[in-house]
Amino acid sequence: MASGGGGSNPLPYRPYRLLRTLAAHDRAVSCVKFSSDGTLLASASLDKTLIVWSSQTLTLKSRLVGHSGGISDLAWSSDSHYICSASDDLTLRIWDAQSAECVKTLRGHTDLVFCVNFNPQSNLIVSGSFDETVKIWDAKTGRPLHTIAAHSMPVTSVHFNRDGSLIVSGSHDGSCKIWASDTGALLKTLIEVNGPAISFAKFSPNGKYILVATLDDTLKLWNYSTGKSLKIYTGHVNKVYCIASAFSVTYGKYIVSGSEDNCVYVWDLQGKNPLQKLEGHTDTVISVSCHPNENKIASAGLDGDRTVRIWVQDT
C-alpha cells in the first residue's frame, strides 16, 4: 500500500474485492455508468446495444437495441429515467430506461460520436465527436442549440460542471477547453506545449477542478481557473485508449481509473501512488463508475474480456 501525500484521508483505506462478473455483451464493453440515484447500472458495447442492470441484484433488466453502429459512451439523466448513448452510426439516441424504448434520435454529427453527457438539469445534452465538434442539444426537442468547432482532432470527452454553466472538452489535439454552455463561447484553454493527447476530462463534484487523463500514463487534477495542475496520479498504463476515470467520494476521497494492464487502479485523492490494483479483467479496463451512495465500483473490459465487473469493499 503506497503512502499518500501530505494530507491523508481520515478514513483508513478499505480494499475492494470482486463481487460479481456480468457477461452479457458480444463485443467489447465501452462504457459503464451507475444511474444518478444508484438503482440502475447501464453498460454500452461495440455490439451496438446497451444493457440496463439492476445495481442491487445485478441482474439484466433490459437491452436497448437500435443503433446501427457500436456505442462509445452513455450518460444518465439526473432523474435516472433517460439514457443518452453516443454511437459510431453518427447519431445519439435518448432511451427511456424504464420502458427500454428509444425516444429520440439526435442527428447532426458527421463522424462517429464519441462522448456524451447530460447537464445536471437534464435539459441539455453535450456530445463530442470525431468530426472535431462539440454539439449542445436541447434534450426535449432534440434540436442542436450550438455547434462548436472545438478542436483540431477528435473530441474524446465532454462534461458539464455542477450547475451546468460550463462544459469541459478534451481532445486528441492535447488541449482541454472550457466553454460557456449558454452561448457556446470559449472561456479557457488548458494546453501543454507538445503535450500528449487528452483522453478523458471531467469536472470534480464541486466544479472547481478538472481531472484530465493523458495518453502518457498520467492522470492530473487541474485547477482550471489558475491553469495549474495540482495533483498527478501515475502507476497505471494508458497510452492508447480513452479510459474513463471517476471520483469516489462515498467513503473517503479517491480517484478510480481503468488501465491498459487489465487492472482498475485506486488512488487517494491527495496522493500520487496507487492504493490498490483490482485485478480480474482479461483485457484493458476502459471505463469505471462509482456508485453514488454505496462503496461500489463498476468496471468494463474491452474485446478480450467483454464483461462488466462489480467491486465492493470488504466488510
Binding site: G5, G6, G7, L64, V65, G66, S68, D89, L90, E101, C102, V103, K104, T105, R107, T110, Q121, N123, L124, D138, A139, K140, T141, G142, H146, T147, A149, N161, R162, D163, G164, S165, L166, I178, D182, T183, A185, L186, L187, T189, L190, I191, S204, P205, N206, G207, K208, K220, L221, Y224, S225, T226, S229, L230, K231, F247, V249, K253, L269, Q270
Partner: protein, 554 residues
C-alpha cells in the same frame, strides 16, 4: 456558478437582439428567481413557461374557464407557483410542476397587476385593479382588504367601487401603483397625487408619506431585488430612484420608533416627517430631448442598472441607465410598441414584449475572448514596450530552464465543498427552490427506414401519421431508401422535412412549431455579431427555416 472564469453578475448590459420567442400573442412576462424559467401570459388566457436555457417551451398552463387576456404574471419566491391575473377580473394561482390550478378568485375589477407576497405562505397577494385602490387579496378565502391610498383614508377602509372621489373632493381615481417591500411586511403605494405611501397592510394604516415634487400621478413603483432601492415612474415623464432607509426586516418597528419620536402634531405633517426618514431621493431619469413617457421601468438583477421602455407607440426603445444616472444605452427594436420588459435576474439579458405578441431577448454582443485560446494569452489594452533581459537570447546549455513542478503534492485538494453563490444568498426558504422543469424528451416520429430495429417511439398517433408518410414514400422511393447516414444529401434532408408535416398533428409538436425561428433582425449590431464569431458555426442560419432539420447536415 463558478466565479473564477465567469463573473455571475458581469455588471454589463445587453446590446443586441439575440433571439425572439414566438407562441401566440404574449402580453406580459416574468422571470423566476434564478432566471432559468420565463413565464409569459398570453392573450388567450394561457400561460407559457419557457425554459430559458434551451429557449424552448417547458410547460403550458391552460384553463378552460379563463380565456381572457392575461394582464400580469408573478412567480412565487420558491418558483413552485405562478399567480396570474386576467382581464376577466380573475386571479389564478397555478402549481408549476403539475400544471394544475391551485385556486382561483374573482375580483370586482380587472387587476392590472398582481404580486404574490414574498413570504412562503403564498396565500396573500397584492392586486392593483384598473381604477380603484390596490388591495390585499387572500387567495384561499377570496377576501379582499383595500389599502388606503391617501392620508385622509387612514383608518377608513371604505369599499372601493362605489367611490369615485376622495373624501376631500379631488378628481376621480386613476390607477395607483403598489408593491411589496422585500419581505412583504410593508406595501409601498404610489398614488395619483404624486405621493408614496408606506402602508402597513395588516392594519391598513398609512405609516409614512413621501411626496414627490411636482405631484404628478405615479404610474409604476418597483423595488430592486435586494430591497435597497425603490423606483417610481410618474406622469411627469421622470423615473425617480429612492434609497430605502428602512431596514429590510423589522421595518414596522422602526416606523413605530420614528413615529413616536416625531414631534409633529398634525397627522399629515407627522407622516411626511417619518417618510423623509424612510426614503431618500437618489436620482431622477428623464429624456430631456424627446420627453417621452416611460413604461415598465425596472432594475437589473443586481440593482446596478435601471431599464425603462419608451411608452410611445410605434417604437420599441429601451433605455438603460447606470444607477448613477448616466444613460449607457438605448436599445432599439423593430417598430412595434413595447408592452412589457424584464431584466434577467443574473445575466445581462433583457427581455421585452412587443405589441405583436413576440418576446425579444436582448443580450450582449458576442466578442471573442482571445485570452481564452491559450493559457498564456493575455489581452492588452494598448501596446506595451517589452524590454528583454540581458541574457534572453543567449544559449545556455547546462542551465536548462528548470521546469517548475507545478504539482505540489502536499497541498490538500477539496473536491466536494461548494461555495454559496452570493447572488442567491438571500434565500431563506425552507422548501427546495424550483429551478427547472423536467425536460421530457419528446418522442420522435417513427422512421420509415429500418434503422431503428425493434424500437418504436411512443407517439400516440403514430398510425395516423403513418399513412400520409407512406404515400410520399411511394412517390420518392429513392429518397426513402437512403438508409445510410442522414448526411449531406438533399434528398435525405427533404425526407426529414416532409416528415414534419404529419408529425405536426402530434401534440408535442405544437411546442416545436412555435419555437423560434431566428430571423435576421435589422437591429443594430446584429450583423456584426455574425462577423465576430469565427469559432462558432453559424447556427443562426440553420434556424431561419422553422422546422427544418436540413441545415444541420453539413
Amino acid at each position: 456558478m463558478n466565479a473564477p472564469i465567469i463573473d455571475p453578475l458581469q455588471g454589463d448590459f445587453p446590446e443586441v437582439i439575440e433571439e425572439y420567442l414566438e407562441h401566440g400573442v404574449m402580453k406580459c412576462i416574468a422571470f423566476n428567481r434564478r432566471g432559468t424559467l420565463l413565464a409569459a401570459g398570453c392573450a388567450d388566457g394561457s400561460c407559457i413557461i419557457w425554459d430559458f436555457e434551451t429557449r424552448g417551451i417547458a410547460k403550458e398552463l391552460h384553463d378552460k374557464d379563463c380565456v381572457a387576456a392575461i394582464t400580469s404574471v408573478c412567480w412565487s419566491k420558491d418558483g413552485h407557483c405562478i399567480l396570474v391575473s386576467a382581464a376577466d377580473k380573475s386571479l389564478t394561482l397555478w402549481d408549476v410542476v403539475s400544471g394544475e390550478k391551485i385556486t382561483r378568485t374573482t375580483l370586482q375589477q380587472t387587476p392590472l397587476q398582481a404580486r404574490l407576497h414574498p413570504g412562503s405562505a403564498k396565500s396573500l397577494c397584492l392586486a392593483c385593479p384598473l381604477s380603484s385602490a390596490p388591495m390585499i387579496v387572500d387567495l384561499n378565502t377570496g377576501s379582499t382588504t383595500v389599502l388606503p391610498v391617501s392620508v385622509s383614508d387612514t383608518g377608513a377602509g371604505l369599499p372601493p367601487p362605489s367611490r369615485n372621489k376622495f373624501s376631500d373632493g379631488s378628481p376621480p381615481f386613476t390607477p395607483t401603483a403598489a408593491c411589496f417591500n422585500k419581505y412583504g411586511d410593508l406595501v409601498y403605494v404610489g398614488n395619483s397625487k404624486g405621493e408614496i405611501l408606506i402602508v402597513d397592510h395588516k392594519n391598513k394604516q398609512v405609516r409614512a408619506v413621501v411626496p414627490i415634487s411636482g405631484g404628478s400621478v405615479i404610474k409604476n413603483i418597483v423595488f430592486s431585488r435586494n430591497g435597497q432601492y425603490l423606483l417610481t415612474n410618474s406622469n411627469d415623464r421622470t423615473i425617480r430612484i429612492y434609497e430605502n432607509l428602512l431596514p429590510l426586516k423589522d421595518g414596522l418597528k422602526v416606523l413605530d420608533e420614528l413615529s413616536t419620536s416625531c414631534d409633529e402634531v398634525d397627522e399629515a405633517e407627522k407622516l411626511k416627517a417619518v417618510g423623509s426618514k424612510c426614503l431618500a431621493l437618489f436620482r431622477e431619469f428623464q429624456d430631456s430631448i424627446t420627453k417621452i413617457h416611460w413604461k415598465v421601468p425596472c432594475f437589473s438583477g443586481d440593482g446596478e442598472w435601471v431599464v425603462g421602455g419608451s411608452a410611445s407607440k410605434g417604437e420599441h426603445k429601451i433605455y438603460i441607465w447606470d444607477r448613477a444616472g448616466h444613460l449607457v444605452k438605448i436599445l432599439e427594436g423593430p417598430k412595434e410598441a413595447l408592452i412589457d420588459l424584464a431584466w434577467h435576474p443574473v445575466h445581462p439579458i433583457v427581455v421585452s414584449v412587443s405589441l405583436t405578441g413576440l418576446v425579444y431577448i436582448w443580450a450582449k454582443d458576442y466578442t471573442e475572448n482571445w485570452s481564452a485560446f491559450a493559457p498564456d494569452f493575455k489581452e492588452l489594452e494598448e501596446n506595451e514596450e517589452y524590454i528583454e533581459r540581458e541574457d534572453e537570447f543567449d544559449l545556455m546549455p547546462e542551465t536548462e530552464k528548470v521546469k517548475d513542478t507545478d504539482v505540489n503534492e502536499d497541498d490538500e485538494v477539496d473536491i466536494m465543498t461548494v461555495e454559496n453563490e452570493s447572488v442567491f444568498s438571500d434565500s431563506d426558504m425552507s422548501q427546495e427552490e424550483l429551478c427547472f422543469l423536467p425536460a421530457v424528451p419528446c418522442p420522435d416520429v417513427p422512421e420509415q427506414q429500418d434503422k431503428c430495429v425493434g424500437s418504436t417511439s411512443k407517439l400516440t398517433d403514430s398510425n395516423h401519421s403513418g399513412s400520409p408518410l407512406s404515400e410520399e414514400a411511394g412517390q420518392n422511393g429513392q429518397a426513402m431508401n437512403h438508409a445510410s447516414s442522414p448526411v449531406e444529401e438533399d434528398t435525405g434532408g427533404t425526407r426529414l422535412k416532409r416528415k414534419r408535416k404529419p408529425s405536426e398533428k402530434g401534440m408535442e409538436l405544437q411546442a416545436e412549431k412555435v419555437r423560434k425561428p431566428l430571423k435576421t433582425m435589422k437591429s443594430s449590431g446584429k450583423i456584426s455579431k455574425i462577423k465576430n464569431k469565427p469559432v462558432l458555426e453559424q447556427d443562426t442560419d440553420s434556424y431561419v427555416f422553422a422546422d427544418d432539420v436540413t441545415d444541420e447536415y453539413h
